[in-house]
Amino acid sequence: MAQLLVQEGHHVRSVPESRGAGKTPDFVACGALVEAKSFESLAERRGRPPSAEGVANKLMQASEQGAVGIIWAGASGLSQATARAGYLLYCRHAVVHGLGKLESARVVGEGFDVSFDPVADVRAVWQAGATPRLRPSVPVRRLVPRP
């Protein structure tokens, strides 16, 4: 994942694990704290691809540690539709439970790479009490906020 961000032109450095001082993100990319999560391969998952709830749970977990949450779905069998459904679940959940630290979310799977703006989408859900209209994927370089 860090290599992917480097290839995209970001300056990436890892964050040493703290001991007892709280959870730490995986790395810093262009000044933004990034938490990367992954799904096991479809074979390791015994042929069952991740669910929308699984995606939402990964985002919730990432939101505890990083401003940017990236899910690497690789060969897990996750579809783009499920990724989006999972993100929507996360937004609805965040209306009640809070966004945590998350300011940007990205899901990379086989054949797709989608990015989201949870701050705007959760606000939209909260204001409208309705399903947010998910924007089309934004250019990758905008995914990591620059200081």
């Binding site: 994942m1 694990e17 001991r19 007892g20 959870k23 999560k37 992954s38 998952r45 991740p50 977990q61």
Partner: protein
């Protein structure tokens, strides 16, 4: 890429009392965060955070049935099933069930229940070398002030 091993715990006690129970089940004192919303357990090189959670149920993971989670981030790359964090939480899981009689669920990276072949005392065909005794690092008697373990209760997961 970070991965976690999460031990989901059922209890009708408040977080602080669950932290106390875990302290008594281990030889470690759990320390509270400033807002006391989270407790940190450090033992045998494993760091785990106890807190309430609001994860969603996911297929065969009925996470909402468990109000608390003890989450350990896996420090080293490699097979997560054989990580020190997984082995430690497996033992603690067994101890929790034995001493409290309460359900618990050990989950690997928020994706799947811990596999039965990795359950405490039953190393699978690919188990890591040098199995750790089930009681290593953990007391073998019921903690003071805690009820004696009742008959095995209905429980979730596979690490019986």
């Amino acid at each position: 890429m970070s991965r976690t091993v999460d031990l989901f715990l059922d209890s009708d006690q408040p977080l602080e009392l669950v932290a106390l129970q875990l302290s008594e089940l281990t030889s470690a004192q759990l320390s509270a965060s400033p807002d006391r919303a989270r407790f940190v357990l450090q033992e045998e090189g494993v760091t785990a955070y106890l807190s309430e959670h609001d994860f969603l149920d996911d297929d065969d993971l009925p996470l909402s049935e468990f109000p608390y989670v003890l989450s350990a981030r896996v420090r080293e790359p490699g097979d997560i099933d054989h990580s020190p964090e997984a082995r430690y939480l497996r033992r603690l899981n067994a101890r929790w069930r034995e001493q409290t009689g309460l359900p618990s669920l050990l989950v690997i990276d928020l994706e799947r229940p811990d596999a039965p072949e990795f359950a405490t005392g039953a190393p699978g065909p690919t188990a890591a070398p040098g199995p750790v005794p089930a009681s290593a690092g953990l007391p073998t008697t019921a903690p003071a002030g805690m009820p004696q373990p009742p008959a095995p209760a209905a429980s979730h997961g596979t690490a019986e």
